[in-house]
């Protein structure tokens, strides 16, 4: 008796839910935004703030009436930092969920694994990963929001040049980020007429870089030291650098531009400089900085919503989503080719990461100036330039 009643109730519920779903489908077809991010796993420090940002702003946009009168629907998968599952989820987004645009790909590996698919399926794709290979050479359907490592190298070397430094010692990680950064630094240095006189590397699992740093110190003519790396390595390099008492100006890359790096490196970080997003110093931006409002709003909204510290990686997702929305609005539809073309022609979008000016030859749209040079003073970031 009870069983039949339960069964009947269940049937009713199913019918009701199905009815509701049909009703909402009739109201307005949502615009589907697909995303695959490394929310868990070794790259979760990228994917987690990115997902939170996307969720929060999709909600916000929907509350404000959506885009083109249609609500946004976010479909996201977690690729656990694994390139082949990133590719599979990208395929699922394209073929099964049939999304209109994809904003995702936390790591360069995940992005590049999905790129051939996007190109073949002709879906606009905004990547959130750094390496320069993603948009150089330009790929028709692929865009990205973070600055490339090449811009970081340009920014650092330009700052060195301003200080009259021409001979540098380089120490980099052997992981993807470090080695790509190393290649870019060597190229940029040559272009700018600077000389890399010492070139050392360390692997991700090394716990002491004293030997490499000693080699650099003993190289004649070194005027400044640059460390291109990600994760734990740079913090160890920084501590070793202080322990060895090296007096030369010390630079880190944008890879460690976060508050957690300051905690890891402690007082050893004092005086070092790095290129970073203005998001680290929202309050010291000058009043006439066009990014000031965007940066402050994003920071306060994110921190209010999630009760967690804002990170520059989440900002890449913010810019990615806003670029997508803007392109769809400008295209007036979700037709892939129209959206792609609108994306390619976006000009003067002021985001958290920088001001984007896309063009058919530049699917990143940022310049090296979008990086700010920060210096660590009294355990805090200080805006230098």
């Amino acid at each position: 008796m009870l069983k039949t009643m339960m069964r009947r109730a269940g049937k009713c519920a199913v019918v009701a839910v199905a009815g509701l779903m049909m009703m909402s489908a009739q109201a307005a077809e949502p615009i589907k935004i697909g995303s695959f991010l490394s929310v868990t796993g070794p790259a979760s420090f990228l994917g987690d703030p990115e997902l939170k940002t996307l969720e929060m702003y999709v909600e916000k946009i929907n509350e404000e009436g959506g885009v083109l009168g249609r609500p946004l629907e976010l479909i996201h998968y977690d690729d656990v930092g694994n390139a082949s599952s990133a590719r599979n989820f990208a395929s699922r987004l394209i073929r099964s969920d049939q999304v209109d645009i994809i904003v995702g790909g936390s790591t360069t590996g995940a992005t590049m694994a999905a790129v051939p698919l996007m190109e073949q399926a002709q879906v606009p794709f905004i990547s959130l990963a750094g390496a320069v290979v993603i948009t150089t050479p330009v790929k028709k359907w692929v865009f990205k929001t973070p600055q490339s490592d090449r811009m970081a190298a340009e920014r650092i070397l330009a700052d060195m040049k301003d200080r009259g430094i021409t001979k540098i010692g380089l120490i980099s990680g052997t992981d993807g980020f470090g080695s790509s950064g190393r290649t870019q630094t060597l190229e940029v240095a040559e272009q700018m007429g600077m000389e890399v006189v010492a070139d050392e590397t360390y692997s991700g699992s090394d716990t002491d870089m004293t030997a490499q740093l000693t080699n650099i110190r003993n190289t004649k003519g070194v005027e400044a030291v640059l460390n291109f790396g990600f994760g734990q390595g740079p913090a160890i390099v920084t501590r070793n650098y202080a322990q060895l008492g090296i007096e030369l100006p010390f630079y880190q890359s944008h890879g460690v531009a976060s508050d957690s790096f300051l905690e890891l490196a402690g007082s050893a970080a004092e005086g070092l400089r790095l290129p970073a997003s203005p998001l680290l110093v929202p309050d010291s931006l000058p009043e006439d900085d066009p990014q000031k409002d965007v940066v402050q709003n994003y920071k306060s909204e994110y921190e209010a919503r999630w009760d967690a510290k804002v990170s520059t990686f989440g900002a890449y997702a913010y810019d990615g989503l806003m670029l997508a929305v803007r392109a769809i609005e400008e295209a007036g539809s979700t037709d892939p080719e129209a959206v792609r073309e609108a994306l390619e022609n976006i000009e003067g979008y002021v985001g958290v990461t920088g001001e984007f000016n896309m063009s058919p030859d530049d699917h990143n749209g940022l310049t090296a100036d979008s990086f700010r040079i920060l210096e660590v003073q009294n355990g805090n970031w200080k805006l230098i330039d």
Partner: protein
Amino acid sequence: MLNRFMQSRLRGLMVLALILIILPAFLGNPFHYELVIQMAIIAATVVGLNLLVGFAGQISLGHAGFFGLGAYFTGIATGTYGWSSVPALVVGAIAVGIIAWVVGRPILRLKGHYLSMATLAVGFIIAIILNNERAITGGPDGMPVPALDLFGWELSTFGQYSLFGLDISGVQAWYILVSVVLLLAVWFAQNLIESPIGRALRSVKGSEVAASVVGVDTAKYKSLVFVISAIYASIMGGLYAHFQGFITPAVASFEFSILFITMVVLGGMGSTLGVILGAVVLKLLPQVLADFQELETVMFGLILMLTMIFMPKGLLPTITAIVSKRMRKKAGGEA
């Protein structure tokens, strides 16, 4: 006589072929095809690994290394040097076979945990090489692989083809291709098992000492099956690279090796169809659990634990045993 032959060796193959023919009726969209294609590629690899683990009783925790080598060989030969796919796959398989033979001779002298450690190390070394030889492999960021070309046909998953007057999509063409490859892989494996080599291998598994006493050259047979399973992995790795269109050193990673061995254990060591089932289940899991990503590893562990406790022989052998027991009971009751 014929009937008995059919039953023993070909029944499994027929069942598999039937499933592969019927399956497209249940595949709703191209993404489902993609999943099944990947399952078939992984399953064929695991069928090869099962020869080593299930029949010869030797363990390999570094099999993804050979899979990765095959994938990268194909990727580099076709992508960087412009070879066509078939020679790349064949030469890759031969090269990996030779590598397996060279490393297999010394390490297969080891037994038990020591053998596991040695194969583990082989896998690690291959993964490290793929990671560090940036100029050739593209390093940790991986490398793109061109679409498979088969006797002048370029088989892209987004293409459209016509076969015997039927219009088929790229994924369907791939599905047909990997189905044939999987059937060939199973057919070869089952024939090998029933051959004198197979009997020798099983005797090695039973007791290596006894096998050598009755005149089986155990070292030779162990290396042979190690090489065969590595060649399986290499060819399937090459196909996988073509299918994915992009490879990273993760294809040679330790996690991937463990996944392979788990598929063998879960599906049923020594059961060719069983390990295919194992591959299907474990390949499906991440997609089914896509909404509960955190749970994936937990489920993975739980499945392995429950299998070891309740079905030590693996999924398929346990199920068949239960079914045939039921049938016998029923038949007995009626008699």
